[in-house]
Every structure is written in C-alpha cells, then in structure tokens.
C-alpha cells in the first residue's frame, strides 16, 4: 500500500469521528451564533479544522515508520537465526521452502498456489 493510499484509507476510516468532532466543535457553536464573536471563533475554528487532519497524516507517517522499523528488526532477527547465512536480503518464504526441500523428494510445485 502506497503512503498516499494509506492516508486516503485513514481519512475514510476517520470520517465518522471527524464528522462528529466537527459537528460539536464547529456546527453547534455556529448554530448558536458563535460566528458573531468574530476573530476569536475564527482562530478556534481554524485550529479545530486543521489539527485533526494533520494528526491523521502524522499518525500515518508514524505508523509507516513503525512498520518499516519493525520489519527491519524482524528481517534482522530472521537473518541472524539462519545458521551460516549472513545476508541482509529480505527473507523469501517460498525461496526458503524450495531451498530446504530436496528436488527429488519434494512434491511441491515450483510456485504453489496457496489458498
């Protein structure tokens, strides 16, 4: 999943909480005539409008960083646990299965379909 599509998915997921938040912090005060307070409400509204979307984008960024860091750790642990193999290359499970199975005894096709 690309970072852009991840952000789009996050916004889709946050649509209901975002709508509820905006309804209470913007729509209700506006309905009660908060717009008459002018600059004060404008400052509040701009902050309330901007911060949640920024928080969503930041959370997506942190999630992506967390995933790549944890993936790097998992790969490093897997590489370290393989005896005699010191490679930083990503572990390919299918390649591992093929490498460890003898061609004469293996009944697995070269690229099995897994259901």
């Amino acid at each position: 999943m690309s970072s852009q599509s991840r952000i789009v998915a996050a916004f889709r997921r946050a649509a209901v909480p975002l709508a509820a938040y905006y309804a209470v912090t913007l729509a209700l005060p506006l309905a009660n005539g908060a717009a008459q307070s002018g600059a004060r409400f404008a400052a509040h509204a701009s902050l309330v409008l901007v911060v949640p979307p920024v928080a969503i984008v930041l959370a997506c960024g942190l999630y992506a960083i967390g995933r790549s860091v944890s993936g790097w750790f998992v790969r490093a642990i897997q590489c370290g646990s393989r005896s005699g193999v010191h490679s930083a290359a990503p572990v390919n499970r299918r390649a591992n299965i093929r490498a460890h199975a003898s061609p004469a005894t293996s009944s697995l096709p070269a690229d099995p379909i897994r259901g």
């Binding site: 209901v16 909480p17 912090t25 209700l28 911060v51």
Partner: protein, 173 residues
C-alpha cells in the same frame, strides 16, 4: 425503518437536551461528570482535588481547576452521536432501540470521563513542565485538548465497530 428513524430523532433530542443542560448548568449542576473525572485525574496524577462550591474541583498542589468548561460534555455529545451512528442499525424493535440509546449514552459517558481525565492529566503534566515551544501555555492546552479529544473519538469508534462486528458474528453463528 420507522424504528431507526425514531432512534435518530431520539438521539438528536438527547444530544440537544444534553447541550441545553450544559449551557444552562453551573459547575455544581455538573457534578455527575465532574466528580468521577476529578477522582480519576487524582488517581492518575497522585494529586488531590477538592470541591470548591460554584467553581468545580481544585488541586492546590497543581494549581489546577476542573471547572465547567473542562467537564467534557461536548465530547460526550460527539461520542453519543457517533456510537448511535455505529450501532444504530441494531434497532429493529422498540426494546432494541431503547437498548441502543441506553448503551450509547452509557458508553459516551464512560468515554467522556476517561478521555477527559487523560486530557486533564496530560494538561497538568504540561503545565508543570517547561516545554521549549514558541506557543503560549493556553495554545498548548487547546492543541492538547483537540488531539486528545479527537484521538479519543477515533479510539471509541474503533472499539464500537469491533464490538459491533463481534456481536454480529456471534448472532450469525
């Protein structure tokens, strides 16, 4: 469809009533939400909050007042509307519609107390620690409030959806 429409109307009326009560209430009228919040903040921060009649709950050691505007009623209204929206499809009979509204109200109340207590606990920590920011303490407090309240709504929505999905799966089985 009629029951679902009735639930939506009832939810709007409850939210409106909550808003009206909050608008007209003094701090003493909001003890139903201020008291558990103050106790929870006290448990989280280790400081004691004492009731100041007409003001709210005050912590002398933190110089922090949990007043009417800190009650979290607006969060409760947002959470209530959101939970009704999430589980509203379950209202098929009058009894289930009543349950949906009651569960939504109770969930939003518990969520409001929890999230508001977390927000105030963070706010007291921020007030006690110097942050090398170019923002005023009021702006930091406001920003923290937006982040915690919105984060709380996101978390509540995820929990409500998961519980709803699990309940649906159990019914299907």
């Amino acid at each position: 469809v009629k029951t679902k429409f009735a639930v939506v109307v009832a939810a709007v009326v409850i939210a409106w009533a909550l808003k009206r009560h909050y608008a007209d209430a003094r701090a003493d009228d909001l003890m139903w939400i201020l008291t558990p919040t103050a106790r929870l903040v006290g448990a989280m921060t280790g400081s004691s909050f004492t009731l100041q009649p007409g003001e709210g709950y005050f912590s002398a050691d933190r110089l922090f007042l949990i007043e009417k505007s800190c009650a979290g009623v607006n969060f409760m209204i947002a959470a209530f509307g959101m939970v009704v929206f999430t589980v509203g499809h379950r209202s098929r009979t009058v009894a289930s519609a009543g349950s949906v509204l009651a569960v939504s109200l109770l969930t939003s109340y518990i969520a409001a107390v929890l999230v508001n207590a977390v927000r105030i606990a963070i706010a007291t920590w921020l007030a006690a620690h110097y942050l090398p920011l170019s923002m005023s303490s009021a702006a930091v407090h406001r920003l923290e409030g937006i982040v915690v309240y919105f984060g709380g709504l996101m978390l509540l929505y995820e929990v409500a959806q998961r519980v709803d999905r699990r309940a649906s799966a159990r019914i299907t089985l």
